[in-house]
Assembly symmetry: C2
Homo-oligomer: 147 residues x 2
Protein backbone atom coordinates (compact mmCIF):
# COMPACT_ATOMS: atom_id res chain seq x y z
CA UNK A 1 0.00 0.00 0.00
CA UNK A 2 1.35 3.38 -1.04
CA UNK A 3 0.44 6.18 1.34
CA UNK A 4 0.19 8.70 -1.45
CA UNK A 5 -2.25 6.63 -3.51
CA UNK A 6 -4.48 5.90 -0.52
CA UNK A 7 -4.34 9.55 0.49
CA UNK A 8 -5.49 10.72 -2.92
CA UNK A 9 -8.21 8.10 -3.00
CA UNK A 10 -9.80 9.16 0.29
CA UNK A 11 -9.34 12.82 -0.46
CA UNK A 12 -11.22 12.43 -3.75
CA UNK A 13 -13.89 10.52 -1.91
CA UNK A 14 -14.17 13.43 0.52
CA UNK A 15 -14.40 16.00 -2.26
CA UNK A 16 -16.83 13.99 -4.37
CA UNK A 17 -19.10 13.32 -1.44
CA UNK A 18 -19.24 17.00 -0.48
CA UNK A 19 -20.06 17.96 -4.04
CA UNK A 20 -22.66 15.24 -4.40
CA UNK A 21 -24.53 16.55 -1.37
CA UNK A 22 -24.14 20.22 -2.23
CA UNK A 23 -25.14 20.02 -5.88
CA UNK A 24 -27.45 17.04 -5.55
CA UNK A 25 -29.51 18.89 -2.98
CA UNK A 26 -29.82 21.79 -5.42
CA UNK A 27 -31.45 19.47 -7.93
CA UNK A 28 -34.19 18.46 -5.50
CA UNK A 29 -34.47 21.75 -3.61
CA UNK A 30 -37.77 22.58 -5.34
CA UNK A 31 -39.23 19.76 -3.30
CA UNK A 32 -37.58 20.95 -0.09
CA UNK A 33 -35.63 17.71 -0.06
CA UNK A 34 -31.98 16.80 0.47
CA UNK A 35 -29.76 14.05 -0.90
CA UNK A 36 -30.07 12.15 2.37
CA UNK A 37 -33.85 12.24 2.25
CA UNK A 38 -33.65 11.21 -1.37
CA UNK A 39 -31.57 8.19 -0.29
CA UNK A 40 -34.17 7.20 2.29
CA UNK A 41 -37.10 7.65 -0.07
CA UNK A 42 -35.23 5.85 -2.82
CA UNK A 43 -34.73 2.90 -0.50
CA UNK A 44 -38.40 2.82 0.42
CA UNK A 45 -39.49 3.19 -3.21
CA UNK A 46 -37.81 -0.05 -4.24
CA UNK A 47 -40.29 -2.80 -5.21
CA UNK A 48 -39.15 -4.98 -2.29
CA UNK A 49 -39.75 -2.19 0.24
CA UNK A 50 -42.92 -0.84 -1.32
CA UNK A 51 -45.01 -3.86 -0.34
CA UNK A 52 -44.35 -4.20 3.36
CA UNK A 53 -42.16 -1.20 4.15
CA UNK A 54 -38.81 -1.43 5.89
CA UNK A 55 -38.04 -1.63 9.58
CA UNK A 56 -35.81 1.03 11.12
CA UNK A 57 -33.22 -1.67 11.63
CA UNK A 58 -33.28 -2.65 7.93
CA UNK A 59 -32.98 0.99 6.90
CA UNK A 60 -30.01 1.52 9.20
CA UNK A 61 -28.21 -1.51 7.77
CA UNK A 62 -29.04 -0.44 4.25
CA UNK A 63 -28.09 3.24 4.56
CA UNK A 64 -25.22 2.68 7.00
CA UNK A 65 -26.04 5.49 9.39
CA UNK A 66 -26.87 5.74 13.09
CA UNK A 67 -30.27 5.09 14.58
CA UNK A 68 -30.46 8.58 16.06
CA UNK A 69 -29.60 10.20 12.78
CA UNK A 70 -32.05 8.16 10.74
CA UNK A 71 -34.71 8.89 13.32
CA UNK A 72 -34.28 12.62 12.78
CA UNK A 73 -34.48 12.28 9.00
CA UNK A 74 -37.60 10.14 9.34
CA UNK A 75 -39.16 12.73 11.68
CA UNK A 76 -38.72 15.40 9.03
CA UNK A 77 -40.15 13.15 6.32
CA UNK A 78 -43.03 12.13 8.56
CA UNK A 79 -43.80 15.76 9.37
CA UNK A 80 -44.22 16.37 5.65
CA UNK A 81 -46.36 13.22 5.38
CA UNK A 82 -44.01 11.56 2.91
CA UNK A 83 -43.49 8.48 5.06
CA UNK A 84 -45.41 6.82 7.89
CA UNK A 85 -44.44 4.47 10.73
CA UNK A 86 -46.82 1.57 11.20
CA UNK A 87 -46.66 -1.29 13.68
CA UNK A 88 -45.47 -4.57 12.25
CA UNK A 89 -48.33 -7.08 12.72
CA UNK A 90 -45.75 -9.87 13.00
CA UNK A 91 -43.62 -8.20 15.70
CA UNK A 92 -44.95 -5.51 18.01
CA UNK A 93 -41.49 -4.08 18.62
CA UNK A 94 -40.88 -3.28 14.99
CA UNK A 95 -42.09 -0.19 13.20
CA UNK A 96 -42.39 -0.49 9.46
CA UNK A 97 -41.51 2.64 7.53
CA UNK A 98 -43.52 3.10 4.37
CA UNK A 99 -43.97 5.71 1.71
CA UNK A 100 -47.35 7.41 1.87
CA UNK A 101 -49.26 8.07 -1.37
CA UNK A 102 -48.03 11.66 -1.05
CA UNK A 103 -44.47 10.33 -0.72
CA UNK A 104 -44.89 8.20 -3.82
CA UNK A 105 -46.15 11.19 -5.77
CA UNK A 106 -43.24 13.36 -4.66
CA UNK A 107 -40.74 10.62 -5.46
CA UNK A 108 -42.20 10.20 -8.95
CA UNK A 109 -41.86 13.95 -9.49
CA UNK A 110 -38.29 13.98 -8.21
CA UNK A 111 -37.16 11.30 -10.66
CA UNK A 112 -36.87 13.84 -13.47
CA UNK A 113 -34.40 16.16 -11.69
CA UNK A 114 -32.55 13.15 -10.29
CA UNK A 115 -32.16 11.71 -13.76
CA UNK A 116 -30.81 15.09 -14.91
CA UNK A 117 -28.37 15.19 -12.02
CA UNK A 118 -27.08 11.73 -12.83
CA UNK A 119 -26.71 12.52 -16.51
CA UNK A 120 -24.93 15.83 -15.99
CA UNK A 121 -22.63 14.61 -13.25
CA UNK A 122 -21.57 11.50 -15.15
CA UNK A 123 -21.00 13.17 -18.49
CA UNK A 124 -17.26 12.49 -18.30
CA UNK A 125 -17.62 8.76 -17.66
CA UNK A 126 -18.66 6.07 -20.09
CA UNK A 127 -21.27 3.53 -19.05
CA UNK A 128 -18.50 0.98 -18.68
CA UNK A 129 -16.46 3.27 -16.43
CA UNK A 130 -19.50 3.97 -14.30
CA UNK A 131 -19.95 0.26 -13.70
CA UNK A 132 -16.24 -0.06 -12.96
CA UNK A 133 -16.46 2.81 -10.48
CA UNK A 134 -19.45 1.53 -8.55
CA UNK A 135 -17.90 -1.93 -8.31
CA UNK A 136 -14.71 -0.48 -6.91
CA UNK A 137 -16.75 1.61 -4.49
CA UNK A 138 -18.53 -1.57 -3.47
CA UNK A 139 -15.24 -3.12 -2.46
CA UNK A 140 -14.10 0.06 -0.75
CA UNK A 141 -17.32 0.17 1.26
CA UNK A 142 -16.84 -3.47 2.26
CA UNK A 143 -13.33 -2.69 3.41
CA UNK A 144 -14.49 0.33 5.38
CA UNK A 145 -17.33 -1.63 6.93
CA UNK A 146 -14.98 -4.22 8.38
CA UNK A 147 -13.04 -1.63 10.37
Amino acid sequence: MTFDVANRLFFRLYQSSNLMHKNGTRYVSDFGATTQQWAVIGALARPIAREKGMSVKDLIEFLLLSRQNLSAVLDRLEARHWVERVKDPDDGRTRLIRLTPEGETQWAAMLGPIQSFYTEALKGLSEEEQVQLYRLLDRLRDGLERL
Copy 2:
Protein backbone atom coordinates in the same frame (compact mmCIF):
# COMPACT_ATOMS: atom_id res chain seq x y z
CA MET B 1 -26.76 6.69 -19.02
CA THR B 2 -28.57 3.96 -17.14
CA PHE B 3 -30.50 5.20 -14.12
CA ASP B 4 -29.78 2.06 -12.17
CA VAL B 5 -26.02 2.23 -12.65
CA ALA B 6 -25.85 5.90 -11.70
CA ASN B 7 -28.08 5.26 -8.73
CA ARG B 8 -25.83 2.50 -7.42
CA LEU B 9 -22.76 4.61 -8.00
CA PHE B 10 -23.97 7.57 -5.94
CA PHE B 11 -25.45 5.34 -3.27
CA ARG B 12 -22.09 3.60 -2.84
CA LEU B 13 -20.45 6.99 -2.69
CA TYR B 14 -22.87 7.98 0.06
CA GLN B 15 -22.24 4.79 2.04
CA SER B 16 -18.47 4.91 1.60
CA SER B 17 -18.25 8.52 2.63
CA ASN B 18 -20.29 7.93 5.78
CA LEU B 19 -18.10 5.00 6.72
CA MET B 20 -14.90 6.87 5.95
CA HIS B 21 -15.88 9.65 8.36
CA LYS B 22 -17.23 7.36 11.06
CA ASN B 23 -14.37 4.86 11.12
CA GLY B 24 -11.65 7.28 10.05
CA THR B 25 -12.48 9.55 12.98
CA ARG B 26 -12.11 6.55 15.30
CA TYR B 27 -8.53 6.09 14.10
CA VAL B 28 -7.56 9.64 15.08
CA SER B 29 -9.87 10.02 18.08
CA ASP B 30 -6.93 9.68 20.48
CA PHE B 31 -5.86 13.08 19.22
CA GLY B 32 -9.34 14.54 19.55
CA ALA B 33 -9.34 15.01 15.78
CA THR B 34 -11.82 14.24 13.00
CA THR B 35 -11.42 13.24 9.35
CA GLN B 36 -12.25 16.79 8.29
CA GLN B 37 -9.57 18.26 10.51
CA TRP B 38 -7.21 15.63 9.21
CA ALA B 39 -8.00 16.78 5.67
CA VAL B 40 -7.24 20.39 6.57
CA ILE B 41 -4.02 19.54 8.40
CA GLY B 42 -3.00 17.20 5.61
CA ALA B 43 -3.42 20.02 3.12
CA LEU B 44 -1.32 22.38 5.24
CA ALA B 45 1.36 19.74 5.83
CA ARG B 46 2.16 19.45 2.11
CA PRO B 47 5.60 20.80 1.21
CA ILE B 48 4.07 23.54 -0.93
CA ALA B 49 1.88 24.78 1.90
CA ARG B 50 4.41 24.33 4.66
CA GLU B 51 6.59 27.20 3.48
CA LYS B 52 4.14 30.06 3.18
CA GLY B 53 0.89 28.58 4.44
CA MET B 54 -2.35 28.67 2.50
CA SER B 55 -4.93 31.42 2.24
CA VAL B 56 -8.49 30.70 3.26
CA LYS B 57 -9.44 31.05 -0.38
CA ASP B 58 -6.88 28.44 -1.46
CA LEU B 59 -8.04 26.05 1.23
CA ILE B 60 -11.66 26.46 0.17
CA GLU B 61 -10.82 25.69 -3.44
CA PHE B 62 -8.67 22.76 -2.43
CA LEU B 63 -11.08 21.18 0.05
CA LEU B 64 -14.24 22.17 -1.81
CA LEU B 65 -16.24 23.40 1.14
CA SER B 66 -17.87 26.66 2.15
CA ARG B 67 -16.04 29.59 3.76
CA GLN B 68 -18.26 29.51 6.84
CA ASN B 69 -17.72 25.82 7.34
CA LEU B 70 -13.96 25.98 6.89
CA SER B 71 -13.86 28.94 9.24
CA ALA B 72 -15.46 26.88 12.01
CA VAL B 73 -13.02 24.01 11.50
CA LEU B 74 -10.11 26.46 11.58
CA ASP B 75 -11.48 28.02 14.76
CA ARG B 76 -11.39 24.64 16.48
CA LEU B 77 -7.89 23.90 15.21
CA GLU B 78 -6.71 27.37 16.23
CA ALA B 79 -8.19 26.95 19.70
CA ARG B 80 -6.02 23.85 20.10
CA HIS B 81 -3.02 25.78 18.73
CA TRP B 82 -2.55 23.39 15.82
CA VAL B 83 -2.83 26.14 13.20
CA GLU B 84 -2.39 29.90 13.18
CA ARG B 85 -3.70 32.72 10.98
CA VAL B 86 -1.09 35.26 9.99
CA LYS B 87 -1.39 38.32 7.81
CA ASP B 88 -0.01 37.92 4.31
CA PRO B 89 2.79 40.51 3.92
CA ASP B 90 2.01 40.71 0.20
CA ASP B 91 -1.73 41.32 0.61
CA GLY B 92 -3.28 42.73 3.75
CA ARG B 93 -6.67 41.21 3.00
CA THR B 94 -5.34 37.68 2.98
CA ARG B 95 -4.79 35.53 6.05
CA LEU B 96 -2.29 32.73 5.64
CA ILE B 97 -3.16 29.56 7.52
CA ARG B 98 -0.14 27.67 8.76
CA LEU B 99 0.60 24.67 10.89
CA THR B 100 2.15 25.59 14.23
CA PRO B 101 5.08 23.51 15.55
CA GLU B 102 2.50 21.87 17.81
CA GLY B 103 0.38 21.12 14.74
CA GLU B 104 3.35 19.58 12.96
CA THR B 105 4.08 17.37 15.94
CA GLN B 106 0.49 16.20 16.14
CA TRP B 107 0.37 15.53 12.42
CA ALA B 108 3.54 13.47 12.58
CA ALA B 109 2.03 11.43 15.40
CA MET B 110 -1.22 10.95 13.50
CA LEU B 111 0.52 9.50 10.47
CA GLY B 112 0.83 6.09 12.13
CA PRO B 113 -2.90 5.58 12.76
CA ILE B 114 -3.70 7.11 9.37
CA GLN B 115 -1.38 4.67 7.65
CA SER B 116 -3.13 1.83 9.53
CA PHE B 117 -6.52 3.12 8.48
CA TYR B 118 -5.48 3.24 4.84
CA THR B 119 -3.98 -0.24 4.94
CA GLU B 120 -6.95 -1.85 6.68
CA ALA B 121 -9.60 -0.10 4.62
CA LEU B 122 -7.94 -0.90 1.30
CA LYS B 123 -7.15 -4.53 2.03
CA GLY B 124 -9.57 -5.72 -0.63
CA LEU B 125 -8.10 -3.59 -3.41
CA SER B 126 -4.82 -4.09 -5.25
CA GLU B 127 -2.49 -1.14 -5.74
CA GLU B 128 -3.57 -1.03 -9.36
CA GLU B 129 -7.25 -0.95 -8.45
CA GLN B 130 -6.63 1.82 -5.95
CA VAL B 131 -5.08 3.94 -8.68
CA GLN B 132 -7.95 3.10 -10.98
CA LEU B 133 -10.44 4.10 -8.30
CA TYR B 134 -8.90 7.45 -7.46
CA ARG B 135 -8.66 8.34 -11.15
CA LEU B 136 -12.31 7.53 -11.67
CA LEU B 137 -13.16 9.57 -8.57
CA ASP B 138 -11.14 12.42 -10.06
CA ARG B 139 -13.36 12.43 -13.11
CA LEU B 140 -16.49 12.09 -11.01
CA ARG B 141 -15.43 15.07 -8.91
CA ASP B 142 -14.79 17.08 -12.06
CA GLY B 143 -18.24 16.23 -13.34
CA LEU B 144 -19.83 17.16 -10.02
CA GLU B 145 -17.90 20.40 -9.87
CA ARG B 146 -19.28 21.59 -13.18
CA LEU B 147 -22.87 21.38 -12.00
